[in-house]
């Protein structure tokens, strides 16, 4: 089998970012906790590859540490979405047409009426801004995405004859969902997981940018952009590099998602979104 180019490129981008985040635990070019006002807003140079920010911190180091926040938030949010959404979706499909199915689907509609920023606003109103807030808001937003996807895919499987055969063999809904349905929708979930991962990174950046996500001193790409905004005509590099980091990271994940889809189902290649 030939590996899709988009998968290779996308995975490479993603691995680089994951590696940078991991390396930042052991080493960064500069210490991001140390402020150095005399060195502030330096343009990129040999000493500071991507320049420094308004407090003299090394932007490259900040980006490495910021990657940790972005990745951790996105992973946790996808985890919440999958962990709650997939069982709900499978459960609804197993009880298709019943009251439980209806309740789960209407619950999904309800969450869909709240864009993730509104969820974040409500949680902040409740508990104050924090990185947990971002995780929870994006995670809740992910639940209906995975619930719908797994319900839809499971529904079409439930009408298939191999599921009938399993029912004739005396297997119950839980057994069938675990043994026959989940493995057959796993590919779909992985692809969607990659996409929600990238959405999570974008939303986390937005939430942190408006102050509803990661709080200082925790470095995050969104916060770096918030700091850079007022200084953009003086020090455009402060805004340029965190933004590019987001773009490349999200692009990598999306390419990986596309590539995975092609890999799992070459038939869909032409029709992909």
């Amino acid at each position: 089998m030939r590996w899709p180019v988009s998968l290779i490129v996308g995975a490479a981008f993603s691995v680089v970012f994951a590696a940078l985040a991991l390396i930042s635990f052991l080493w960064t070019p500069y210490d991001v906790d140390v402020l150095s006002i005399p060195d502030r807003m330096q343009a990129p140079s040999g000493a500071h590859w991507l320049g420094t920010d308004h407090l003299g911190r090394d932007i490259a180091s900040m980006l490495m540490v910021g990657a940790r926040t972005s990745i951790a938030v996105a992973i946790a949010a996808v985890g919440i979405g999958m962990g709650v959404g997939v069982p709900l979706g499978l459960w609804a499909a197993a009880r298709r047409g019943g009251l439980l199915d209806e309740v789960i689907m209407r619950g999904n509609d309800l969450i869909f009426a709240f864009p993730s920023i509104l969820i974040a606003i409500l949680i902040t109103a409740l508990a104050g801004p924090s990185v947990w807030n971002a995780i929870l808001a994006i995670g809740i937003f992910n639940i209906p995405v995975f619930a719908r996807l797994s319900r839809g895919a499971a529904l079409s499987l439930w009408s298939r004859e191999f599921i009938m055969a399993a029912r004739v063999a005396g297997k119950g809904a839980v057994h069938i969902s675990a043994e026959h349905i989940l493995p057959n929708i796993a590919n779909l979930l992985i692809v969607q997981g990659t996409i929600q991962f990238s959405v999570g990174i974008l939303v986390e950046a937005a939430l942190s940018y408006v102050g509803l996500g990661a709080q200082p001193p925790l470095p995050s790409w969104g916060r770096m952009l918030a700091d850079a905004q007022t200084l953009i005509s003086i020090a455009p590099h402060m805004a340029l590099f965190p933004g590019l980091a987001i773009v490349i990271c999200v692009l990598g994940l999306n390419l990986m998602g596309d590539g995975l889809r092609d890999l799992f189902d070459p038939k869909l290649k032409q029709g992909r979104v």
């Binding site: 298939r160 191999f162 055969a165 004739v168 005396g170």
Partner: protein, 522 residues
């Protein structure tokens, strides 16, 4: 001079040859049958004449219509010929029409594309054409989803013949339809050919249909024409082994000793199944639809019982209820005197196995054959060890004509016929008393179908198992069952010994069904 002349038509994709030197001629007013099993290239031949092949196919040879080389025309020129000079009717009426356009619009579109008429005039002509195909009573403003399968196929025919083309290609036009509907469509097609003097190419896998309809026939095998000739001669005295094999398989009946067991293994008493329909408005009572209406029958040990009905007759619903997969609203189903329902315990469920129609959809693609065939072991109180299961699966695979070594492969490595053998192995692995065969051979080509029928006959003797043979195909039911139930609108309208029912049907519907089936003269 013949109207359509196909010479040395070859088709390939990359290194694969799909058609090789296909040649035939069709004259005005003639019905020409193109017969073959799946993959023989008959549909590709049709698409070549229409010049509607998928991208990436390389075509050689010539196709001439009324002296004009279709194969040399530009796409633009060809667009002017399609629908006007040569038109096509497709197999699947459920998807062949645009769901968002009314039937009037869709027929009018054919007319508007090829003549300078306004919308109103085109719709007027469309109404005439729909009248011709027997849909005069249906308003032009209906959408496809409001029509039955047979009616939709009439719309597809209407938009194909709207401009009285010189050649009409009908690709398996009745395969997706019930037998009684099929008879109507075939009558309509021959009437249209007669009236308009057009030529028709009738593509089918069914030799009996060709016998009834076609003046001349070409038998296709693996992308080549095996034999061409006048239909009656080809069917009476085939010149090729392949044709002979096809004809033999089409009317094949397995040899098996007649059974007359007395012990009843399954009994249905006044079974009723009602479905709740959506409310018409929020305040009305929920209407119900009675899918199974007071059905009673018994199945005896070692017997082969047929259950025949057209789509919507309720046979699938009844089958699911018999398997304990659907609740019933009245009556009872008993296996060996014990009640079979949704809550039936394993000791009851293990008495009945199932083989489905679709050789591709009835297996989890992610499991090995060993795991697939071993699934019913779940119903045993003492689950055999892995080694015992493998031994049993291996033995069973050999019994159905496969190798024990096949058990470690995945299902996609097998052909349709092999998959049905695996499905049979799965149904029999825990030695049930009853196996339900739900359209189990309907998706198979005739030769494979004959082999599977032989296998089933052999296994029924060997394992002393009773079959409930659910099918819409009367010829198959006739070939393999001892007794038959005829179902219509949820009720059993007739039951009795198969030979007797077919020889002397007592119910009008049964007679209509039997008369509608095209037969080979043997």
């Amino acid at each position: 001079m013949s109207l359509l002349d196909v010479r040395n038509l070859s088709l390939r994709v990359g290194a694969n040859t799909l058609l090789k030197d296909v040649s035939f001629r069709v004259s005005r007013g003639e019905i020409f049958g193109l017969v073959g099993e799946s993959g023989s290239g008959k549909s590709l031949t049709a698409l070549s004449i229409m010049q509607l092949l998928p991208d990436g196919m390389h075509q050689s040879g010539t196709i001439a219509l009324d002296g004009e080389m279709l194969s040399d025309l530009s796409e633009r020129e060809m667009c002017k010929r399609r629908g006007r000079d040569v038109a096509m009717v497709f197999q699947e009426p459920m998807t062949a029409l645009n769901p968002l356009h009314t039937i009037g619009q869709q027929v009018a579109e054919s007319i508007e594309l090829h003549s300078r008429v306004g919308r109103r005039e085109a719709l007027g002509k469309a109404a005439d054409v729909l009248e011709r195909v027997g849909l005069g009573h249906i308003p032009l403003t209906r959408y496809p989803h409001e029509l039955s399968g047979g009616q939709r196929q009439r719309v597809v025919i209407a938009l194909a013949i709207a401009l009285r083309p010189k050649v009409l290609i009908a690709d398996e036009p009745t395969t997706a339809l019930d037998v009684t509907t099929q008879a109507g469509i075939l009558d309509l097609l021959s009437k249209l050919v007669r009236e308009d003097g057009m030529a028709m190419i009738l593509i089918t896998h069914d030799l009996a249909v060709v016998h009834d309809m076609a003046d001349r026939v070409a038998i296709m095998e693996k992308g080549r024409v095996a034999e061409t000739g006048v239909t009656s001669q080809v069917l009476k005295a085939p010149g090729q082994d392949y044709t002979r094999a096809l004809i033999a398989a089409s009317s094949h009946a397995p040899l098996r000793p007649p059974r007359d067991g007395t012990q009843v293994v399954m009994q249905a008493r006044d079974v009723v199944r009602d479905y709740a329909l959506p409310r018409r408005n929020p305040f009305s009572v929920r209407p119900t639809f009675r899918a199974v209406d007071h059905v009673k029958f018994e199945l005896r040990k070692g017997e082969n019982l047929g259950l025949v009905g057209e789509s919507g007759s309720g046979k699938s619903t009844l089958t699911r209820a018999l398997l304990g997969l659907e609740p019933v609203q009245g009556g009872s189903i008993e296996l060996g005197g014990k009640l079979m329902d949704m809550d039936a315990a394993r000791d009851l469920r293990r008495r009945i196995g199932i083989v489905f129609q679709d050789p591709f959809g009835s297996f989890n693609p992610r499991h090995t054959v060993a795991r697939l065939v071993a699934e019913p072991f779940h119903l045993l109180d003492r689950r055999p060890s892995k080694a015992e299961q493998r031994a049993a699966v291996g033995e069973m695979l050999e019994s159905v004509g496969l190798n024990a070594t096949d058990m470690d492969r995945h299902i996609h490595a097998f052909s349709g016929g092999q998959r049905q053998r695996i499905a049979i192995a799965r149904a029999l692995i825990i030695r049930p008393e009853i196996v339900v065969l739900d359209e189990a051979v309907s998706a198979l080509d005739v030769q494979v179908r004959a082999q599977i029928l032989d296998l089933l006959a052999e296994l029924s003797d060997r394992f002393d198992v009773s079959y409930l043979f659910v099918s819409h195909d009367l010829s198959v039911v006739r070939a393999i069952t001892d007794r038959v139930l005829v179902m219509k609108d949820g009720a059993i309208v007739e039951q009795g010994d198969t030979a007797q029912v077919f020889a002397k049907p007592s119910h009008a519907y049964t007679r209509q069904l039997i008369d509608a089936v095209p037969k080979l003269p043997i």
